[in-house]
Amino acid sequence: MIYSAKLMDHFSNPRNVGELADANGVGEVGNAKCGDIMKIYLKIDHDIITDVKFKTFGCGAAVATSSMATELIKGKSVREALQLTNKAVVEALDGLPPVKIHCSVLAEEAVRAAIADYLVKQGENPEDYGIKTSACGGSCSCCDHCG
């Protein structure tokens, strides 16, 4: 299994690592049993993601996909960020080994979970934005990406 140079760069110099004290949207997906957890903090101001941080427990691909996902949604509107797909994360990293595709799915789900949290706090219904609230139940077997 070989990681791309881009992925190794995002693993060894991850962008946007940390927490946001004034986050108004926080999402956590995955579980420790499966070996990866991603937590994304969003600061959303007038519908624009002005800041984003992440924390990840996981392998090189999990760290790199988290890092790339935060880069891809920074400065975007909520609806634009919801367009982020795991495929876009994979492409931005110049590819992922097949066994690591689930890491990119987790990154997409972490973003959606954080946005859903924001929307709920704003008194809105995430389902109106097309977010299925039962995205990842934290059990790998519920998601076909994990095989």
Binding site: S12, G35, M38
Partner: protein, 393 residues
Amino acid sequence: MFVYADNAATTHIDPDVVKAMMPALGELYGNPSTIYSKGREAREALDKAREQVAKAINCRPQEIYFTSCGTESDNWAIRGITKHYAAKKGKHIISTNIEHHAVLETLKAMEKEGYEVTFLPVNEEGFITAQQVEDAIRPDTVLITVMTANNEIGSIQPIEEIAKVAKEHNVFFHTDAVQAVGHIPVDVQKMGVDLLSLSGHKFHAPKGVGALYVRRGVLPDNLMNGGGQERSRRPGTENMAGILAIGAAIEKATANLERDMAYVASLRDRLIDGIVKAIPHCKVNTPSHDRLPGTVNVSIKYIEGESMLLLLDMNGICATSGSACASGDLDPSHVLLAIGLPHEIAHGSVRFSFCTENTMEEVEYILEVLPKIAQRLREMSPLWENVKNQETL
């Protein structure tokens, strides 16, 4: 600094071993099965290598069969014995739940073919007892196969005691000693085993050569059919270069075993001690007794093993992990789960394995690098965040 600390995976080929195998890649090209002097030369070299291996594990040269690797030796022993004796004795096999995949996957495949396998569970330090084996023996038990030393955590099983039980009940006993030979004393007479697998590249020979010890009078069926090589039991023209190498390598690895073991154990002990002191929330997975001199397996909680390996590699250190991501599997190492680790702690495991070529300076370097890596990954980990929050409460 470059530190190769993955000697349980494979070892650096010893320059003396390379020297010993070179004739087979040059003038010693004759086929040892031929009658002319070119062939007899090769036959003599082959016989000498067989004697070297036999001497190292205290058996007769005629009881050593060269194979292509440890996996072949394991497959041959298990498949060969059961095939030959199942009709007479039965189709029940006893093993453990921490065997190497070469044994585990063979047994799992055989379960689908109608064999019944009892996988004895190890305790939290990675040991089974001879009593467990005895309790599992049935009238139809044909084979017991228990590894001598575990490749991941280094636990050494009570092989002598298990052999006594096997003998009392008239059951064949095979041991996978791939991690043991060249690292701890291996004496097949003292151990009392019927078959024993070993592999050259674990003790500084190249990859592609192994051997199976088969006690005189024990008759595993062949895996392959062919010519008369290896007394017709393992046909195929001999891998002369590999065989000369394994002979030289085993001789060198066992020449000063006690001294070497003490030295390698000093590296292991320093590393375990240093890790436990420098990194909080660790679990040492290597047992505290009856263990290989060179194996260190620890779990660093709240971080994941593959990330650790990538960062170690960036610092020039080669190690391995039992995490699911490092293995390309969905589950972490079966051995770590067998000793009772929860998945999340097994994911954070890292194994260093040493040999005589490693130095104390290298161990100190690992101890300089690893705590920083652990700290860095923990600062990135949402699990660590929870632990720190709880500690401040």
